[in-house]
Amino acid sequence: MKNAFGEPQSLLLVGGASDIAMATAMRLVRRRVRRVILAGRPSPARDAAAARLAEAGATVETADFDAFRVEEHAKVIGDVFAEGDVDVALVACGLLGDADLDPLKAADVAMVNYVGAMTAAIVCADAMRRQTHGALVVFSSVSAGRPSGSDFLYASAKSGLDAFARGLTEALRGSGVHVMVVRPGFVRSRLTRGVTPPAIATSPETVAGAVLDGLRAKSEIVWVPGILGQLTRLPGSVVRRITG
């Protein structure tokens, strides 16, 4: 349960421990989050993330979640909620595409960024509706609205997820569940290593700060950095040049 200051105490990370998810989790653990569930594929990275969170004072559980195996999502995430209320769930399944148009690779990008993230979010939303409280944070991307040359596969999947999450926001209004869509610009992280950053690039730490602010303010859409929300009024070609 959140406390009187609206501080969450339990956190579910769906999609494992991306840099953004970890930066957010570490900040929340430094405040009141005590129970963290890392739902992702078993990997040394997941183990390392669990160790870091435990060191910061959290009780860490892991759940074997694979974005591709949508038929398991209800069970894997359902089991997490059965163990206790989840105050915040971050859905951050991310896989970048590449420029060559391989249909199978494109399907993977759509599966992870859109289909898997969506089914996981639906399971979380349903459980939160039953507990009548909780915040569901869905990671979209600024590119969801402005697909560009290099990452339009990724952008198309995020665009689907973004539309879904905004619809979910409406569907859950009045249920006690807060849905928040986060649209970061280019983030310097492991995922984007080797890609030349554009004029406006941000960091996992900045995104984490914006997520915390958004949770506190119960925002529905969070742009990181905030200026990106204003840039959407400019012509697409200009925006692409600035945001990558």
Binding site: M1, K2, N3, A4, F5, G6, E7, Q9, R32, R34, G84, D85, R130, Q131, T132, H133, S175, G176
Partner: protein
């Protein structure tokens, strides 16, 4: 859910949605407890706990005020249903010469809530807490069976102070205090600093049945006013009249309660108090300052207020003074700061009162740096062997709870034996992993 209702505690923080039902008879409770739905059930009285113990997000909440029968007084004992308020009890019994054994600063609490929070009043040093005066209580358990518990039964002490998590309290037999009049003889002393407040309060405890001190947390010295009172013995009529059930002062601007206005009010209160006086006052005016204005909690605006009450053992005076100093330096303004010395505890496993100094404060939730400040105060309290009050808490770090309440492990274990499916659930229980 049928009757979705947003519920909060008196502090109006952390609202949550539940199905609220108001049973009219004990028989209606059993089926609800046996099949409460996936999110469990909790009993609720008049909602005067400040935090979240009478909320159950997504589950069922039982408004107990429909169970409000008062039995006849026999040899100073009365058996009442759990939904009876202390207000009604006083209205009915004061004219007959009886007073509730313990009353907090508001009459608007139910007997069920009084047992579940094991409430205390200004006579704690002399008479203990509410649980000390309960000779039997009926508890509807998760198995649908109602048991009558007496102080010889360990489950009695799991239930007294157990925040409703052992079952639904349906009835209680209470030992009443005989009174000759409905007046109080109130002695007042003005004290220029915290040390003299503490000394005077200690002295007052020896001479008077009811004592407490108001402390001006915004003043540099921690000055205050000590009151020591007793029931007046003869003369005045016993009728009990309570003024002020007007609806809330909703028209008052929210910003009215801030550090500066509170400082002014405090200064005024202190200045207009005589150095030493004796007055005869009506019961309500002495005991229930909070009831003078209905819904005073709305003064704090939509974000509500955070109550903070702790007790530190006798001998930890330095910790108490350090805490008052920290609050003053942080510029967090508490409108009603009350100091009280507790006597021995009742034996309730999660009962709050233990021998020592108790300070209660209330802050607007929006006070800058408040979350951080209270976390630091928790550490000082825990370090000194003290604890915070669950009926007022809304933000404690869960890991400090076992440090503050050594019987917590036993409580958790017994709760799970009595209620393996954890049918009795509240937001408080979830937040603090009770």
């Amino acid at each position: 859910m049928a009757n979705k209702t947003i519920l909060t505690g008196w502090g109006r923080t952390s609202p949550s949605v539940a199905e609220l039902l108001r049973p009219g008879a004990e028989a209606e409770l059993t089926p609800l407890v046996l099949a409460p739905g996936g999110r469990g059930v909790i009993a609720r009285g008049l909602g005067r706990s400040y935090g979240d113990p009478a909320q159950n997000a997504g589950g069922l909440v039982l408004d107990m005020t429909g169970l409000a029968a008062i039995g006849p007084v026999r040899d100073g004992y009365v058996t009442v249903e759990a939904g009876v308020s202390l207000h009604r009890l006083m209205r009915e019994l004061v004219p007959e010469g009886w007073f509730p054994p313990v009353t907090p600063a508001t009459r608007q609490v139910t007997v069920g809530g009084a047992v579940a929070a094991d409430i205390h009043g200004r006579n704690h040093h002399a008479d203990g807490s509410f649980g000390n005066h309960v000779t039997a209580l009926d508890l509807l358990g998760a198995d649908g069976v109602t048991r009558t518990l007496t102080p010889g039964d360990p489950d009695f002490w799991a239930t007294v102070g157990g925040m409703g998590l052992t079952g639904v309290i349906t009835k209680a037999t209470i030992r009443l205090t005989p009174i000759e009049t409905s007046r109080m003889i109130v002695n007042t002393w003005k004290c220029p600093d915290l040390e003299s407040v503490m000394t005077r309060l200690t002295q007052a405890d020896l001479a008077h049945r009811y004592t407490a001190a108001w402390v001006d947390c915004l003043s540099r010295q921690g000055r205050g006013v000590v009151e020591g009172a007793d029931h007046a013995r003869q003369g005045a009529a016993r009728s009990f009249r309570a003024r002020g059930f007007e609806a809330g002062p909703g028209f008052l601007p929210v910003g009215l309660l801030n550090r500066h206005t509170m400082g002014l009010v405090n200064r005024g209160l202190y200045a207009t108090t005589k150095r030493e006086s004796v007055q005869v006052r009506p019961l309500a005016s002495f005991f229930h300052p909070l009831d003078r204005v209905g819904h005073w909690n709305r003064l704090y605006g939509p974000r509500g207020l955070v109550q903070y009450q702790f007790v530190v053992p006798m001998g930890a005076e330095q910790t108490l003074m350090k805490i008052v100093e920290r609050i003053r330096r942080s510029h967090a303004a508490s409108f009603q700061t009350v100091l009280k010395r507790f006597g021995p505890g009742s034996g309730g496993w999660l009962s709050f009162p233990t021998p020592g100094w108790s300070l209660s404060l209330d802050f607007p939730t929006t006070t800058k740096g408040l979350a951080w400040l209270l976390d630091r105060l928790d550490e000082l309290v825990a370090e000194a062997g003290g604890r915070v009050y669950l009926a007022k808490d809304s933000r404690l770090r869960p890991e400090l709870l076992p440090v503050m309440y050594p019987a917590l492990a036993a409580f958790r274990e017994r709760r799970r034996e009595l209620d393996p499916r954890l049918v009795f659930q509240s937001d408080l229980a979830r937040r603090l992993s009770l």
